[in-house]
Homo-oligomer: 308 residues x 2
Amino acid sequence: MTTFSVTILGSNSAMPVYDRHPSAQVLNINEQLYLIDCGEGTQIQLQKYNIRPSKINHIFISHLHGDHYLGLVPLLDTFALLGRTAPIHLYGPPLLIKVIDLHRTINGWTIDDAPYKIHFHPLDPLNSELILDSKKLIVKSIPMNHRVPCTGFLFEEKPKERKMLAEKITTFNIPYTAIPNIKKGADYTTTEGKVIPNEELTVPPPPTRSYAYCSDTAYNESILPIIKGVDLLYHEATYLEDRAELAAPRGHSTAKEAALIAQKAGVKKLLLGHFSSRYHELHPFVEEAKTVFEHSKLATEGHVFEVE
Amino acid sequence: MTTFSVTILGSNSAMPVYDRHPSAQVLNINEQLYLIDCGEGTQIQLQKYNIRPSKINHIFISHLHGDHYLGLVPLLDTFALLGRTAPIHLYGPPLLIKVIDLHRTINGWTIDDAPYKIHFHPLDPLNSELILDSKKLIVKSIPMNHRVPCTGFLFEEKPKERKMLAEKITTFNIPYTAIPNIKKGADYTTTEGKVIPNEELTVPPPPTRSYAYCSDTAYNESILPIIKGVDLLYHEATYLEDRAELAAPRGHSTAKEAALIAQKAGVKKLLLGHFSSRYHELHPFVEEAKTVFEHSKLATEGHVFEVE
């Protein structure tokens, strides 16, 4: 089984406290790294957890609050210092390009003589769009309900091919040229004209895996159809119910609300993060979430969550 | 004696490594804090060393390489989150205002409705200027010889007043209204017309103290007249002599060159910093510097250097 895991680099909201860092996480899909949000100090966290920046080719920024993007320019500088030439794909709010342009101006780079290219993909905060479509993966944006334009991200493996049973190749004398179609689900017709059903020749592929990142957002059921049934959901839980009155006006959720979303979307597991600096202890977050949704965990620094 | 000390928050150049952080330090003059450079993670370093951000009213940025200024916007955001209303005086290269303006735009602030005011003082990189003149302190810029416009900073206490000897007030029946002038050095003429020389009425004030920050710069003797005789000199030492050929073309100095500047300027003590990531061990820096200038020290994270 190939890798499909998320490593948490930052779990806190607003400002760093109690050795908790602002939002950032790395999704590892088959050793391709996807960086999701990039708060201040993300490059230091990458170092701490031995994650090689050179393996990151895609960076997703949910919104332009400082705790989600102010580690980006330092990381881009470090890419250059490390001799990077491979392009970066950057997804984020349209205004993010102004930050990149200013960074380029300050560094004295033109678009053409920069050490590496940045392909910027501006996001529509109001509609879920297909924003990345590669051989094995698709990424869709998820409109969040926050104080500023904000999108979450859904990462889904594409269905893999069915697995050919080696012994059937011999049994039915199947030429190699026929195998790609059989892996895609086709039946096989022998030279004698006998049709062998695909189910007899192959086994189903491993299930596709999926991860949804939803931060920052108030409780918002309109995301349910998009994240329905995902294997792993990260949903912000800035507050506990004791401060529920703060959550919605600030575009945030409580741990209980995150759990309600997980339950209603029928996801397999829930990760809670983006904790307010008002809370020193975090175990009440997972306790509150579990009253609604059993498979809830804290997404704190350095933890790696595998999707199996 | 009032406080006059510098706390090192970051000692590394270019990128953070080996638990060394990018450039930042705090000068404490009588509990007024002056932040000098502000690399990524400066606010985390402030927390680590229990330095209250609310006491910082002046921030000095030497130049616009990322390791000297990319912690500034996160710190400005945190000021707002902490409820700051007191203005900030910001000194730096003219282009820095573009960063501040973009930050304001992204945060949806106008100049008038921002939580606190930022008074920006653009620096001339070619001439030494008086950039701050307060009751007890002056700050001058020091032109550096770097690859981009860059200034160092000289902090000098203003001469204090002479100290009145209390018993002389009685002896000569001196009215209180005459005391301010006597403290400034005036003689006193008694009602009988006798002139009492100032030296008989007062003792000299404590000596003024001074600190110079010189980073980043190639070896440059033209700064000598400006930093002559300072109590404490911070001079960058990116390389050792083993890589001397890299230093000048990149606008940097070796530890030996830093020591030569200290020696020729007749300073009292030298601090070395801004170490290249190529070096894991730092003791060779101080050893190299001491071959030229005995009172050399490493300016590493968390160290506090008092000027007495």
